[in-house]
Symmetry: C2
Subunit: 396 residues, 2 copies
């Protein structure tokens, strides 16, 4: 039973959103109202469940999360909003909890109405399926075109008590735009107040989920939820304590693991690459440079071809908007130095070495842009034929 998060049960059933009999509805339910926080997409076009969840989480409390895959309930107008409200109302009724404590999340095709009746009929079986060991089924129920479920765990000791964190996620940005969106769900049995939880979630997401790109497209449904039952500990952890620090680190680690799994699962991706920028004027500048390199179509196709094409890396950095002196730039791929103080140092031998480093499943590209203290990174993947095949040949 080790690793279970006390106070939560999970479920996953087939509700008829996806074809066949794949799991497509998931539920997380707590024994009693728990501390809750969420971070949501910055896209102006927001799915109905995003709008509803954000409003319901304002109070910092929640008792259940109802998720479906196969349909994003985005761009569905009033009918979509009403369907999401009706489904959470039904879930609340079967669970016997207030409707305002049930939040919805959806992922899948954009612009198609939810199959409301089928889903309504699946609410009772879904609640029946709830169990403490149900996280595996839940993690499969939220998948769209993911290669597999994405789960991460961590433990934190508060005094003598072992507390648990369990994170489950799906997708990556808008890599699967018709099977849209990233969703992340973190449960923990630590005790924490809502302001602290929210602050730690925002900070951890900024360092992890906000540092990955597959194709630069922000979806209409991106959401991360964090729920803390407090079932393992009595006293809430506070921010500037040893336990608080350990919890924040563990939360970041869980989200980092999930975020990396998401990029590694980018459609057709063969390489997971960390773009590491140092020496910028500020951390913000460093992240901006890392983001621009990580999002460059030309860099990503070069990653696919295992081509140590530093010219593309420099050109992307140069258009990032961040200030730096090109004469102070150095670039390493893996451990191989290919550009130093503004001048290429690549010989046939180092090129072969760099190309070989790029054949690895996971590696880093290190870019030093000056002598400043700014640090930042981004995770990206390569852009290959498989990506084009999946995204061009997909029919709405």
């Amino acid at each position: 039973m080790s690793g279970r998060v006390k106070g939560f049960r999970f479920a996953g059933v087939h509700g008829g959103v996806k074809k066949g009999d794949a799991l497509d509805m998931g539920l997380i339910a707590a024994e009693q109202p728990v501390t809750a926080a969420g971070v949501f997409t910055m896209n102006r076009v927001r799915a109905a469940p995003v709008v509803i969840s954000e409003r319901r989480l304002l109070g910092g409390s929640c008792q259940a999360v109802l998720v479906n895959s196969g349909n994003a309930n985005a761009c569905t107008g009033r009918q979509g909003r009403e369907a999401a409200l009706a489904l959470t109302r039904a879930t609340a009724a079967v669970l016997g909890v207030p409707q305002a404590l049930v939040v919805p999340a959806s992922t899948g095709v954009i612009g198609v109405q939810l199959p409301g009746e089928k889903m309504m009929a699946a609410i009772a079986p879904l609640v029946d399926d709830l169990s403490e060991a149900g996280a595996a089924r839940f993690s499969r129920a939220i998948m769209t075109t993911d290669r597999g479920p994405k789960v991460a765990r961590a433990e934190v000791k508060v005094g003598w008590t072992k507390c648990h964190i369990l994170g489950v996620a799906k997708g990556a940005g808008m890599i699967h735009p018709n099977m849209a969106t990233t969703l992340g769900f973190v449960t923990t049995d630590i005790s924490i107040n809502r302001t602290t939880l929210r602050r730690m979630l925002v900070r951890a997401a900024e360092q992890t989920f906000n540092r990955v790109t597959v194709d630069g497209d922000t979806s209409t449904n991106d959401s991360i939820y964090a729920l803390a039952s407090g079932a393992a500990t009595e006293r809430p952890v506070v921010e500037k304590s040893a336990a608080g620090g350990k919890f924040a680190d563990a939360l970041t680690e869980v989200l980092e693991t999930l975020a990396k799994k998401i990029v590694a699962d980018g459609e057709g991706a063969e390489h997971l690459v960390r773009i590491e920028v140092q020496g910028a004027k500020s951390d913000g500048d460093a992240v901006q440079i890392a983001r621009t390199i990580a999002s460059s179509q030309l860099v990503k196709t070069a990653l696919h071809g295992c081509d140590p094409n530093w010219g593309r890396i420099l050109a992307a950095a140069g258009r990032s908007g961040a200030g730096f002196n090109p004469d102070h730039v150095s670039v390493k791929i893996g451990q191989v130095s290919i550009f130093e103080d503004g001048v290429p140092v690549m010989t046939a031998k180092t090129e072969a070495k760099a190309a070989s480093a790029m054949k690895r499943r996971e590696y880093a590209i290190n870019v030093v842009v000056g002598r400043g203290r700014g640090l930042g990174h981004y995770w990206t993947c390569d852009l290959g034929h498989e990506y084009v095949r999946i995204n061009a040949d997909y029919r709405t």
Copy 2:
């Protein structure tokens, strides 16, 4: 002789930068110093010729432009700067004009030093090759992986006199990053002062070259030069006159034709698509939305697959940073309405119609985002397997 631009001669020779015997050095020379203006890349990493040209054009006057393809002379440090200076010095000597009136431009692989000696030996033959009919050879000499030369012409009547504009360009943004960059050269025999020419060039470039994307990567070498000999007319055209207006329109038309040729020639591109945005709060917002849609990897792969995937279009618009109400959005592909006032209106029949419109070589996608007066457009192309093949398999 119709269409010739009085006061200019053009040349193109093989100087040994490219392999084989392809033309790789071009020259434009004027009989006497002419009014000149330039617009240059915003990339912080700038090639040596960009830095030199910008400084030399500050005076608003110029007599020759020396161009090479096959090597961008970017990221080449002090040696690259000295090579560019030496080449313009030699050209100036052979032409018998002041060195400061010769501006350099380069396009091609980044980070490799120019073959200076070979190029130096080609300066005399290049000057010998100058002729009034040499624009065709010049246009081929500046090509890198372009499918063909890109030339556009226009005529403007000033009083009873016919004046000419000739534009020549190559490449597209950073579609060919190792064969990098867009270069554009406009010559005209109209008489105009430098401030007016510069203002009109900036405005025309903003409406044309700054409204195209192939892969979102701004190069280290992008430059457009405009040279006006005044050989056809005596009195300078002024901005707020009939002739001034006609010249500004013709200049924009020439740059528009070149810019469209550049996108249509995007590596592997099969479709040239105009993203047209209306109803935004301002023109700036409209352009920002159009740019984000035009640059979206997911939209571009859908264009490749002829998939009327409005969900991706909306999601891209939503992350553009411009404000709009998703409930007021309508989308048309070609003439086919697929999304109206925030709700999809696509049936099997309209989807088939839209997909069929997308099979055309050139078409428009019209996005209305509200009731504002803001208008803007962007030209883009599809992202297909050929793009990945060329850019992944290319070795530095």
